[in-house]
């Protein structure tokens, strides 16, 4: 049996035929839609590498069944930059050397944008660290990540971009 769902992915509406009900949003993005920026780390909701924005909220794409999210809007790392202009969070990660191998980075950046949108941490590094605890970095770039998120949170607040991804 096949299923038809619609998703808006990085602002583009898509109608998708799924031949298998087991497909997660993560596998859909990576294996069927040629969007491998979202990473598969643990595939069990423990590492945060697959973080995307689902209707504006950060979630683990590995634990989201695609069929369950029929009609949703999805934003991935591929949808952040506008042409050559990087998102302020992407710029801040570069400016603060917030990665080493880069595998966790798309998830870190999507999670950080979700965190700013939630509006619970402000630019308090202590709250940012706690709010980012669902994203593991095996290179240990946490110091740079925290600095980047704090700076971008300030910049996005100043630009009134708190909710804009």
């Amino acid at each position: 049996m096949s299923y038809t769902i619609t998703l808006t992915i990085n602002r583009v509406p898509r109608t998708l035929e799924l031949d298998d009900p087991r497909i997660t949003l993560l596998d859909l993005l990576r294996e069927r839609l040629d969007l491998p920026g979202t990473k598969k780390g643990c595939d069990r909701g423990q590492c945060g590498a697959c973080t995307i924005l689902l209707d504006g909220r950060r979630v683990n794409a590995c634990l989201a069944l695609a069929l369950s999210h029929d009609g949703a809007e999805i934003l991935t790392i591929e949808g952040l930059a506008e042409g050559e202009a990087l998102h302020p969070m992407q710029q801040a990660f570069i400016a603060h050397d917030a990665f080493q191998c880069g595998f966790c980075t798309p998830g870190q950046i999507m999670s950080a944008i979700g965190l700013v949108g939630e509006g619970q941490t402000g630019a308090d590094p202590e709250r940012v660290r706690e709010g980012m605890s669902g994203n593991l970095c095996r290179c240990g770039a946490y110091r740079g990540i925290t600095e980047a998120v704090v700076e971008a949170a300030r910049a996005m607040a100043a630009d009134g971009q708190g909710r804009a991804a």
Partner: protein
């Protein structure tokens, strides 16, 4: 993951009819169920998707002061609801001490109640586990079991219930609203989860096909808002299940405790309400000696189920900590590390 039939009901009645078919499982966020399906622990033949059902995602503050929370409300939305956070601060703190922000954005109230144990032996299909495979034995008994139960366990199962959310819910007399093939009923949260006994595969009192539709906190529970905290010890600073935890809520009048609520997490197969401790606190001054007596009473029946005798004293101490924090007063804003013993009482950094 096994293949399954996917069903998307349009009403609660349709959902219950679909869920009553043997082999069915309800799918909320899937943060626990999909994970268990990936490792082969759960193998439902059909998933009944609750995500498109109308009417299950509201937080209703009722006229009498109670709050009714739809089963599909997401953990983060409940924790950050201003009215809820103000009136039930220990519940909000417990929610925010659990999992990660991503998981809290997805995970639901109903799913949290029904989440399965994180016992490694339960999750490993090559191991014997009476909870997963009745009658097969319990490899946790002779295995790595330092985080297992110290209260209410049996020789058949020593697993713990992993929820933080359920601990203050047990303390505050929450009520679960259930709809099933034979109609609607209400179950006190304290009676909702079952101790293992000889049938650890029965984890809750839900009958096949019964669906959690809402959770209610009575108006009386908001009477503790000025002195209500959740404290949780983890093996790392954040994003970990409790080794032990405690929800404490006090009503203090003229320097005396007139009512006390205490429940423990991480110690049993259900959130553990400690009524003996509550009785020990009634009428006492909110001071260390009374808190220690209460903690002794709460753990009086505790015994190790393996290499975990340390958890008994740890549970006493987290109970004392939660009571001490509650007596000091609910903070205006939760600390940066909700529920953490490493969160300072005011200001400062945690490390």
């Amino acid at each position: 993951m096994n293949r399954f039939e996917y069903v998307r009901p349009r009403s609660v009645a349709e959902a219950v009819a679909a869920g009553a078919v043997p082999g069915s499982a309800y799918l909320a966020a899937g943060t626990n169920l999909l994970d268990l399906m990936k490792i082969g622990v759960a193998r439902p033949g059909r998933l009944v998707d609750l995500n498109h059902l109308p009417g299950l995602d509201g937080i209703e503050h009722q006229a009498d002061g109670a709050v009714r929370i739809g089963a599909q409300v997401r953990n983060a939305d409940l924790a950050h609801d201003p009215g809820f956070r103000r009136r039930f601060p220990a519940v909000a703190e417990a929610l925010l001490s659990g999992a990660s922000a991503q998981l809290r954005n997805a995970a639901t109230v109903g799913g949290n109640l029904l989440q399965r144990t994180r016992c490694a032996w339960f999750q490993d299909t090559a191991s014997a586990c009476n909870r997963r495979d009745p009658g097969s034995g319990c490899d946790a008994r002779g295995g790595e079991n330092r985080l297992h139960a110290v209260l209410g366990w049996s020789e058949h199962c020593i697993a713990t219930h992993p929820s933080d959310f359920c601990v203050p819910l047990a303390a505050l007399d929450a009520v679960v609203e259930v709809e099933g093939p034979t109609g609607r009923r209400e179950i006190a949260l304290r009676d909702f989860h079952l101790l293992p006994g000889t049938t650890p595969e029965r984890e809750s009192v839900l009958a096949p096909g019964e669906l959690v539709v809402a959770l209610r906190l009575p108006a009386e529970a908001a009477g503790f808002a000025a002195h209500a905290r959740y404290a949780k010890l983890r093996e790392r600073t954040s994003y970990a299940f409790a080794v032990v935890s405690a929800a404490a809520a006090l009503r203090i009048v003229d320097g005396r405790i007139v009512a006390a609520r205490l429940a423990l997490g991480g110690v049993a197969a259900k959130p553990w309400r400690a009524e003996e401790a509550e009785a020990a606190l009634a009428g006492a001054a909110p001071e260390a000696a009374a808190f220690r007596r209460a903690a002794e009473a709460a753990l009086a029946a505790a015994r190790p189920s393996g290499d975990n005798a340390f958890k008994i004293e740890l549970a006493r101490r987290i109970a004392v900590r939660a009571l001490t924090l509650a007596a000091a007063g609910t903070p205006e804003r939760l600390p940066a590390l909700p529920a953490s013993p490493f969160a300072p009482l005011s200001g400062g950094r945690h490390v």
